[in-house]
């Protein structure tokens, strides 16, 4: 169609060329309440952007230094609060690396299963919220429906819907409940159905495709030097996944694929997340099968290691024996005695490589807990995804980064 104002002479006139400054956030619905962007606009084109995080800085690292090693778990829940169990696993593995212990096989499988459940809930939320911000409200509601099923299973196991604090240094708080395996098996196919339904609404939708394809492109080299990880990195075509490149827990035994994008645009990030949900389901199915094969009563058939210096004794021992009482008292009051040292433990969390740099000087309290929140790095790279694009493209680009305030600002 021809522009309406083609015949007018005024069409030759140029608009004022000084850039306009626009403040976006922090209380903007698409900024998740915690990001402020100072945009320099030329018409609707973003000339420059200054992204300011820090509105949800809650001093995770300072608080971790104040308590014992175990008391950090509730804070890790609230780092990436869409997938708390993955953070629990990451922190537990880092401390276990410093201690030099390994959880029994059943505990490892259990961590894989619950962690992947969390990953599904993370990706469902991210994709759903991104679709919602583009105006597609129905997939969001459907994805939240599936997320409720997952949270219900997590609640059945851990007692909490969202902030579980379930894993412990050296294992987990409880063994798997009777119902949990059947429940997980029953929700996986239903979840996949919902994911497919949501995609059927979006992927043939011209509006969704036009607003995501070729928008917010991140190049390979830039992603590497920016430290971007997780789905955002994989969408650029780099198959770096900690689960494959340095398998921890039982990921080495599972057969799963790492989805990789090509263009590094918003659409690829959406598709990588959608495919990772399917791969997570495969991992869970396989892990449940592996868990079934463990002989009952064997040393593998336990979720926690047996070491009174690390793991709390069972409650009936605490109340009936003096050894149990003392072990409980020592672990609660003094904390686990972690030998002096310094390790960097890293796992693949919902948004990418979640790293914990732990420094111990001996004794029950951490000297330093540094968390490498993956979306802090993705957000830094967002500067180049947004610059040069349109103002309206900020919304899907920012949504596809999956910025989670707790993890980004800590």
């Amino acid at each position: 169609m021809e522009p309406v104002d083609l015949d007018f002479e005024e069409a030759d006139l140029e608009l004022p060329s000084e850039p306009m400054t626009l403040l976006m956030g922090p209380s903007h619905p698409a900024m998740h309440g915690t990001i402020r962007m100072i945009l320099k606009l030329d018409g609707e084109t973003v000339q420059d952007v200054d992204i300011q995080p820090g509105y949800l800085h809650r001093a995770f690292e300072k608080m971790s230094e104040r308590g014992t090693w175990s008391q950090v778990f509730p804070y890790t829940d609230r780092l990436n609060y869409v997938s708390p169990l993955l953070n629990n696993v990451g922190y537990a593995l880092a401390v276990e690396k410093l201690l030099g212990v390994e959880v029994p096989r059943k505990g490892q499988l259990f961590r894989v299963i619950l962690g992947e459940m969390s990953r599904i809930s993370d990706h469902l939320t991210c994709n759903g919220a991104m679709a919602m911000e583009l105006g597609a409200f129905t997939p969001f509601l459907w994805y939240l429906k599936a997320r409720e099923w997952i949270w219900e299973a997590c609640e059945e196991q851990t007692g909490a819907r969202l902030t579980h604090s379930f894993f412990r240094i050296g294992g987990a708080a409880f063994p798997p409940t009777e119902k949990i395996q059947a429940q997980i098996r029953s929700i996986l196919p239903r979840t996949l159905e919902v994911v497919a339904e949501g995609e059927s609404l979006l992927l043939k939708n011209r509006i969704f495709l036009d607003r995501t394809q070729g928008v917010g492109v991140l190049t390979k080299e830039h992603a590497l030097s920016m430290g971007v990880s997780g789905p955002v990195l994989r969408s650029c075509g780099i198959d770096y996944d900690v689960r494959k490149d340095k398998p921890y827990l039982t990921y080495g035994e599972c057969d799963f694929d790492v989805p990789v994008g090509e263009d590094g645009d918003t659409y690829d990030r959406f598709m990588v997340r959608a495919e990772e949900i399917r791969q997570s389901c495969r991992i869970i199915e396989q892990s449940l099968d592996l868990m079934k094969k463990i002989a009952p009563g064997s040393p593998d058939d336990a979720v926690s290691i047996v070491d009174p210096r690390i793991v709390l004794p069972p409650k009936d021992k605490v109340y009936t024996t003096i050894e149990g009482t003392i072990a409980h008292f020592k672990l609660i009051m003094e904390g686990i005695d972690v030998p002096p040292g310094e390790v960097y433990g890293y796992t693949e969390a919902g948004n990418g490589e979640l790293g914990f740099l732990l420094v111990s000087r001996g004794g029950g309290n951490p000297w330093r807990v540094r968390v490498r929140g993956p979306c802090f790095f993705s957000l830094q790279a967002a500067h180049d995804m947004i610059r040069g694009g349109m103002l309206a493209d900020i919304i899907p680009t920012f949504g596809s980064i999956n910025m989670i305030g707790g993890e980004c600002d800590r």
Binding site: G54, E61, L357, R370, F377, A381
Partner: protein
């Protein structure tokens, strides 16, 4: 893990690499602050290291205010972690700067991702990165005084931007005592510590 990077570093920089270790499989090299950028560039550019993927940059406060002098040498340990997607190995390079006016050269020319991390280290520890293009605070606000992750900064010394409303201190919190939430925030922030 491969110790290749550590060996290459020792061969290249000799006595400037103060210490290497591989505790629990983490390859760590402690270098002199003067060679900080050179080492980073070597790790990035050397084809056998090829650590082009920037993982993390942060710092550790090594000073214990109960026993150590706050201006001690080697107070802040800044580290950078880099990974090679090609060779699948990673290395942690550390250096130590003094507590009195800590300064270090920036590694942004090597990995552009170091930008926000160096701002964070400045914000949290007060280490100045020379040559940083945008040395502002990042997680706290401009009005904030001090550097909160230093060990001598009390955890609950708040610096409110908004004046608190009258009559909200020294009152019982919203939860009653039997609801399991004893409120220890009864005094104004300035009176604490």
């Amino acid at each position: 893990m491969s110790k290749l990077i550590l060996e290459r570093l020792k061969a290249q920089f000799g006595a400037d690499v103060l210490e290497v270790s591989s505790f629990r499989g983490d390859d760590v090299a402690l270098v002199k602050p003067a060679r900080w950028v050179d080492v980073a560039r070597f790790v990035h550019d050397d084809p056998r290291c090829a650590c082009t993927y920037f993982v993390d940059l942060s710092a550790v406060d090594l000073c214990d205010p109960r026993t150590d002098d706050l201006d001690m040498d080697d107070r802040f340990e800044v580290y950078v972690i880099a990974y090679s997607v090609e060779h699948k190995h990673r290395v942690r390079i550390k250096t130590r700067v003094s507590g009195d006016e800590p300064r270090l050269a920036t590694v942004i020319p090597v990995w552009s991702g170091a930008n926000w991390m160096e701002r964070e280290v400045f914000d949290m520890y007060g280490v100045h990165f020379e040559g940083h293009p945008d040395p502002r605070r990042i997680l706290t606000y401009d009005e904030f005084k001090g550097h909160p992750l230093r060990k001598d900064y009390p955890a609950n010394r708040a610096q409110p931007l908004v004046e608190y409303r009258d009559g909200t201190f020294n009152k019982l919190g919203p939860f009653l005592q039997d609801e399991g939430m004893p409120l220890n925030r009864s005094a104004a922030p300035d009176e604490r510590n």
